[in-house]
């Protein structure tokens, strides 16, 4: 009796699995197809693209479009390629991410472990920052950057991104530290550790997952930002997203689709790498936050 029914169970198992896997494979293809198209076409000479078949592999492989996108393509008025703008982005993203993460961690620390009157109100107001649409703050921000003498500079962009990200980073760290046992802080106080010693020696070493989450979140958001980049940059502080747009929209000459594809991949590469390197921690950190927060 039991043998056939087991057999049945196994068969339905296989059947269900087949359905699940085909669905998954289908979705994977759906998401991977654009990347594939970009990749193969960025490796073809322009003529081949013009002939029509977007999906075929290159007949003649070439890295010329990549070289062009990186260092010689016409961006706006100058033929510099994306390279200087890529560097601009790096110089903007690295400090902005680091600063907003550190400040968010400090905020979370104070809001959970050094409570003061009205702390929840302060936190509520900071949360509100997460819901303010970018467009609303554009003009006030421009004014403040002007007053500070940071208009059109990379430090100005860093400041804007840092301030705008602070709401999110504070939220992340506050929720994470809320679950952190207060008795550990008290024990450290009795041991004589100062405010910053407790932060650095007790809290930070246990913050790995939430730091990864915050860094990924901030990195992708700031790297991919277009609005602030286009609003607050000048010729020598343009970030890569804006430069990519300028590359694609350059009106002179023919549309070099292969160069555009290569440029787009170049612009997306850092976020891709960040996800691949730390994606595992990202998921783990989100889960940890979900369970504890």
């Amino acid at each position: 009796m039991s043998v056939p029914s087991q057999d049945n169970a196994a068969r339905t198992g296989i059947f269900a699995r087949a359905i699940i896997y085909s669905a998954l494979i289908l979705f994977a293809i759906y998401y991977l197809l654009p990347l594939y198209v970009m990749l193969v076409n960025s490796l073809k000479p322009l003529d081949e693209i013009r002939q029509g078949n977007m999906l075929s592999l290159p007949q003649q492989w070439t890295f010329e479009p990549w070289r062009s996108a990186w260092s010689t393509a016409q961006i706006g008025v100058s033929p510099t390629g994306l390279k200087p703008y890529f560097l601009n982005s790096i110089m903007m993203v690295a400090p902005a991410v680091a600063l907003s993460t550190i400040l968010g961690a400090l905020n979370g620390y104070v809001l959970t472990k050094w409570r003061f009157k009205g702390d929840n109100l302060v936190f509520g107001l900071m949360l509100l920052a997460c819901f303010i649409p970018f467009q609303i703050v554009l003009i006030p921000s421009a004014r403040i950057l002007g007053i500070l003498g940071l208009a059109g500079s990379i430090p100005g962009l860093i400041l804007i991104h840092m301030v705008y990200g602070l709401g999110f980073t504070t939220l992340f760290f506050r929720n994470y530290y809320e679950a952190f046992p207060t008795e550990l802080i008290r024990a450290a106080q009795i041991d004589g550790a100062s405010f910053f010693q407790i932060f650095r020696r007790i809290l930070l070493p246990s913050s790995g997952p939430i730091i990864v989450v915050t860094v990924i979140w901030q990195f992708t958001n700031i790297w991919n930002d277009f609005l602030f980049g286009s609003s607050f940059s000048s010729v020598d502080s343009i970030p890569i997203t804006v430069a990519l747009n300028n590359l694609v929209n350059s009106s002179t000459g023919v549309k070099e689709y292969n160069v555009h594809f290569a440029g787009a991949i170049l612009a997306a590469l850092p976020t891709l790498i960040v996800y691949i390197v730390s994606g595992r921690y990202f998921v783990r950190g989100l889960m940890a936050g979900a369970v504890k927060g």
Binding site: I190, D191, R201, I202
Partner: protein
């Protein structure tokens, strides 16, 4: 002179008044145990002594110095938290040494201190492990080690044994007692465990709703409770508290215990508290501990006031070393503690000896002791 002194201590969290005027003192090398029902403010009191919570009013003195506004690290106290509070990112050795490291003690000296404490607590083989790789009892010992390495003026322990299993608890209790006898450091200790309180304390403070009910030696608390709360709270099984009437028999007072349709029991008193005569003809609460109510053969022969009465036994509970018998007096179940081999059967009537020297009386209104 007392070493740790707490005067009129008040503590409020916002509008909630938690500690309502606590007065305590303990001499140098004393062992003060705080007991009381959950939420009565024991941990809060400990935290105020440690300086982790600011006080609302009052005074805390350690070794003669007022420490009210001193930072926890400046009070020269060491604390063991109920949850151990071991730093998860540090090894056992680093946990124990953290305080010394912060205070800038040289490495060689730190290592020596760690080795000494590890030796004392037998955790030498665990020094390189992280707290997550330890068992409950091992974590407990590390938490103790972190405090012991300091040699402070006062140790504060907040229910340090509450997370351990029964066996380990008893071992650790003995361990703490031995440590205290050797180090002679003043200790304030919070516990829910009666036996821990009785065996460890030189002084016990019983708290209820932020008010100090009684403060005294374990024997005082046990034998001379000032009110019904303390009488009921300390001791296991608890003291029998039976409604009774004071009557006169001949020219002496006697306690009359009603038994429903049965004949009331009359226990003649010789001596007894002086205040009792004012209650002649009135209701009182008669308190007698189970061990003062026993079979006549097992009764204390030196007791000056022993009265025997026939009681109807309802339930018999053999507990190995003793047998507990339950009878009904004054509408309450009353537990008597008999010898293990006492020949009693449920449903029968057997004589029980009341050791009235150990009996106490309470006013049913105020619940205070009649003295």
């Amino acid at each position: 002179m007392s070493f740790l002194q707490i005067n009129e201590l008040h503590k409020s969290f916002g509008a909630t008044h938690i500690l309502k005027g606590i007065n305590l003192e303990i001499e140098e090398g004393g062992f003060l145990v705080l007991v009381g029902p959950s939420g009565c403010g024991k941990s809060t009191l400990l935290n105020t002594i440690a300086g982790l919570e600011p006080i609302t009013s009052g005074e805390i003195r350690i070794n003669g110095n007022q420490v009210n506004d001193l930072h926890p690290s400046k009070r020269d106290i060491a604390m063991v938290f109920q949850s151990y509070a071991l730093y998860p990112n540090m090894t056992v050795g680093q946990n124990i040494a953290f305080g010394m490291e912060i205070r800038g003690v040289p490495k060689a000296e730190r290592d020596k201190a760690i080795a000494d404490v590890a030796n004392l607590l037998q955790i030498g083989h665990l020094l390189d492990r992280k707290p997550s790789q330890l068992s409950g009892g091992q974590r407990q010992r590390v938490a103790m080690g972190r405090a012991l390495v300091r040699d402070p003026q006062v140790f504060l322990f907040d229910e340090p044994l509450s997370n351990l299993d029964a066996k380990l608890r008893i071992d650790m209790r003995t361990e703490i007692k031995r440590l205290h006898q050797r180090m002679k450091t003043t200790i304030v200790y919070v516990t829910h465990d009666q036996i821990e309180a009785m065996t460890l304390a030189t002084k016990i403070a019983v708290l209820k709703d932020g008010l100090l009910q009684q403060f005294g030696t374990p024997a005082e608390i046990y034998n001379d409770p000032v009110n019904m709360f303390v009488a009921d709270f300390m001791g296991s099984p608890a003291m029998n508290l039976v409604p009774a009437t004071i009557v006169t028999e001949g020219n002496k007072l006697a306690v009359k215990l009603d038994r429903g349709e049965r004949q009331p029991i009359l226990l003649p008193l010789s001596g007894g508290p002086a205040g009792l005569s004012a209650y002649n003809g009135k209701k009182v609460i008669f308190g007698i501990r189970p061990e003062a109510l026993t079979d006549p053969d097992g009764a204390d022969r030196n007791a000056s006031q022993l009265a025997t009465a026939d009681c109807h036994i309802e339930v018999v509970e053999p507990a190995g070393s003793d047998t507990f018998a339950v009878t009904a007096l004054g509408g309450k179940h009353v537990v008597a503690r008999l010898r293990a081999d006492a020949n009693v059967k449920p449903g029968t009537t057997t004589p029980l000896a009341f050791n009235l020297t150990k009996a106490v009386f309470f006013d049913p209104e105020s619940q205070n002791r009649i003295s």
